[in-house]
């Protein structure tokens, strides 16, 4: 499959934006009282959401999990409203109700984010069922981690999706850790993609640090899904370069393992390629970084300057 230069540049942009967005958060969250709750970042994994979402149409749906920033930015969520929500401000996309962990952006068809590990899968099945029921040419992408692949909900969801041949793409971000557990400490199977065979579903292994490979696999899965071929499980092999959250000191992650993976960072991997192919100039790249930095600066400023919600607003939005 030929991937257009524009598409590649779009993916590079998304990855750079995510990185800048999260680098800012990594600093901001050190400041006492600045950002409530946990801070869960995806540094090094930006290729997964960026590649998968680049393969989607605007009305395709994504359902994501606690490590969601990249997925949501890639789907087109407004960085300012995301940042404000992470700051728990009233201008946040969820008026401060969700905070960093459950960011929901229905405007870009990212209507639910759940931090219950494994929770994204049954919901994605429901979304895909609605797409099939209405005979829409749309798909749902479900993001989840390697740890989530051990939850019962994974099993029930993949079985049902396969049985009904629903247009859902299960994107498993295998970053080699679930909390402090290495992948081989929580599952004996070598590849999670193997689990697809339990449901007679295609399972694919993809280099999760290669955004183009993720894009391509998602495109193919999407094509299959909208032509009645049913769901696909895509295992993206990647690595959690930071701790589970920012307070995690990563004592259980070998230093050399981290360094090895840092060298595989998906961003220079693509940008080097684009530069060497002449698809972007070094100056163009720098400009792209500057622009992303500006967007993030602006988002932070917006979040900082926004007010907190009023206490009584806590009572709103329980019922429709």
């Amino acid at each position: 499959m030929q991937i257009s230069a524009d598409k590649k540049i779009e993916m590079l942009q998304t990855m750079i934006l995510t990185r800048k967005f999260e680098d800012a958060l990594a600093e901001l969250c050190k400041i006492e009282g600045k950002i409530p709750g946990m801070m869960i970042l995806c540094t090094g994994q930006e290729a997964v959401g960026s590649g998968a979402c680049a393969a989607l149409e605007p009305l395709d749906v994504i359902i994501t999990n606690h490590r969601s920033h990249n997925h949501l930015l890639a789907k087109g969520a407004d960085p300012g409203e995301l940042m404000a929500e992470i700051f728990c401000k009233s201008t946040g996309c969820n008026k401060g109700k969700s905070g960093t962990l459950h960011l929901a952006v229905p405007e870009v068809c990212a209507p639910c984010t759940t931090t219950v590990v494994g929770g994204s899968l049954p919901i994605a099945v429901g979304q895909a069922f609605a797409q099939q029921y209405r005979q829409q040419d749309r798909v749902t992408v479900c993001f989840f981690g390697d740890g989530a692949a051990d939850e019962g909900s994974f099993h029930e969801s993949l079985n049902l999706a396969s049985l009904w041949q629903l247009p859902v793409i299960f994107v498993c971000e295998n970053n080699l850790y679930a909390g402090a557990q290495r992948f081989d400490e929580h599952a004996r199977v070598k590849d999670l993609a193997q689990r697809a065979s339990a449901y007679a579903m295609p399972g694919r292994i993809v280099d999760g640090n290669d955004v183009l490979a993720v894009y391509q696999a998602t495109m193919e899965a999407r094509q299959s899904a909208v032509t009645g071929g049913g769901p696909t499980l895509i295992e993206c092999k990647t690595y959690r370069c930071r701790g589970h959250g920012e307070t995690d000191q990563q004592l259980y992650q070998p230093r050399d393992e981290i360094e090895k993976w840092q060298k595989k960072c998906p961003i220079p991997r693509l940008s080097d390629e684009l530069v060497s192919q002449g698809l972007i100039t070094p100056d163009g790249l720098k400009e792209m970084e500057t622009r992303a930095g500006d967007i993030v600066d602006q988002a932070v400023r917006f979040a900082e300057e926004s007010p907190y919600p009023l206490p009584e607003e806590a009572l709103d939005d329980v019922f429709a």
Binding site: K97, C112, S157, F319, A320
Partner: protein, 329 residues
């Protein structure tokens, strides 16, 4: 007027709503082709009328069934899913409680989850505690859920239709014992409002708040007590949440005495909520101590004498009423 069992009334509600609104679909274990064939059952004949595209038989996967509803509801459909028996609510509860009930709030009001979870409940079938366990108090303790438990076929029809049209997740619990006793149900279209209790019997001496199948125990006791000059007012809650406090408080204001009757086990049951509400806002009306008539704090046993011991009956209710009518001021 037509006479239907509660299951048939549910069936009629489902049929009418599915005819009216193509977004309504049902899903669950055996909702299409099942192991029981009886016109008294709620999903009887639906797959024949609406086809397997709208009447979805699922694998034995309660979490996926509930998740299906959550996802499809957000996407704009109107799922009515069945969790076969109330104890299996446990298996679906993450999706219902942590997701259906919370995701709207978490979205800041942007997403909604108009879905119905139907469950069968009730002791009396010798099936034991893994099939019979009344857990309405769990759902009623979850902000974001509405909890409906009809006692009559007519209410069941009108309430289920309201539930399907509600923009919020509704847990709809059907006592199986009510499936087999026909009662009058208006043929025409009507909606019974969620959140409104119904005074099923007027009386001046004591207020009995109850719901679901226990209404019929209350009726039996009321008749016997009437013969002894004690007039029971029966408040059929119909909806546990949102709770119709006004109706309860007005009744207690009139009678000065309160008994709550439910089939669920005693400790932590929803009777406590009624007691709290009345003690908070109706205290000056109260002339006598409160009484609860409930299942004892045991799992539902299988053996008939044990199971009968479990289920609250008229004698217990009569005794409780007399105690507070006689001792009360």
């Amino acid at each position: 007027m037509q006479k239907l069992g509660l299951g048939q009334a549910v069936n009629q509600a489902l049929r009418e709503e599915m005819r009216r609104d193509p977004r309504v679909f049902i899903a669950g274990e055996g909702v299409g082709v099942g192991i029981h064939n009886s016109p008294m059952l709620p999903t009887d004949g639906l797959v024949e009328e609406f086809g397997p595209g709208r009447v979805k038989d699922t694998p034995v996967s309660e979490a996926a069934i509930a998740g299906l509803a959550v996802g499809a509801a957000e996407a704009g459909l109107r799922p009515v899913v069945e969790i076969m028996f109330n104890p299996f609510f446990t298996l679906a509860s993450d999706m219902i409680v942590n997701h259906a009930a919370k995701l709207r709030y978490l979205s800041g009001g942007k997403s909604s989850f108009p879905l119905v979870v139907r469950m069968k409940s009730g002791a009396g079938f010798g099936a034991g505690c893994q099939h019979s366990h009344n857990l309405e108090a769990w759902a009623a303790h979850c902000p974001g859920l509405k909890v409906v438990m009809p006692s009559t076929p007519a209410d069941a029809k009108g309430l289920l239709k309201s539930a399907i049209r509600d923009e919020n997740p509704v847990v709809f619990i059907e006592n199986m014992g009510l499936y087999f006793t026909p009662g009058p149900v208006p043929q025409e279209e009507y909606l019974t409002p969620i959140g409104k209790a119904d005074i099923k019997r007027q009386g001046r001496d004591v207020t009995v708040v109850t719901w679901s199948s226990m209404l019929w125990v209350a009726f039996g006791a009321a008749e016997k007590l009437a013969g002894q000059g004690i007039e029971m007012e029966i408040v059929d809650l119909r909806t546990l949440t949102p709770l119709d406090k006004e109706t309860i408080l007005a009744s207690v204001k009139k009678t000065g005495r309160l008994v709550v009757l439910h089939e669920a086990t005693r400790t932590g049951g929803f009777a406590g909520e009624i007691a709290a509400v009345v003690m908070e806002d109706g205290f000056p009306s109260l002339k006598a101590p409160f009484r609860r008539v409930t299942g004892p704090d045991i799992p539902v046993p299988a053996s008939p004498p044990l199971e009968r011991f479990y289920i609250p009956d008229e004698e217990q209710l009569i005794a409780a009423v007399k105690e507070i009518v006689e001792t009360g001021g």
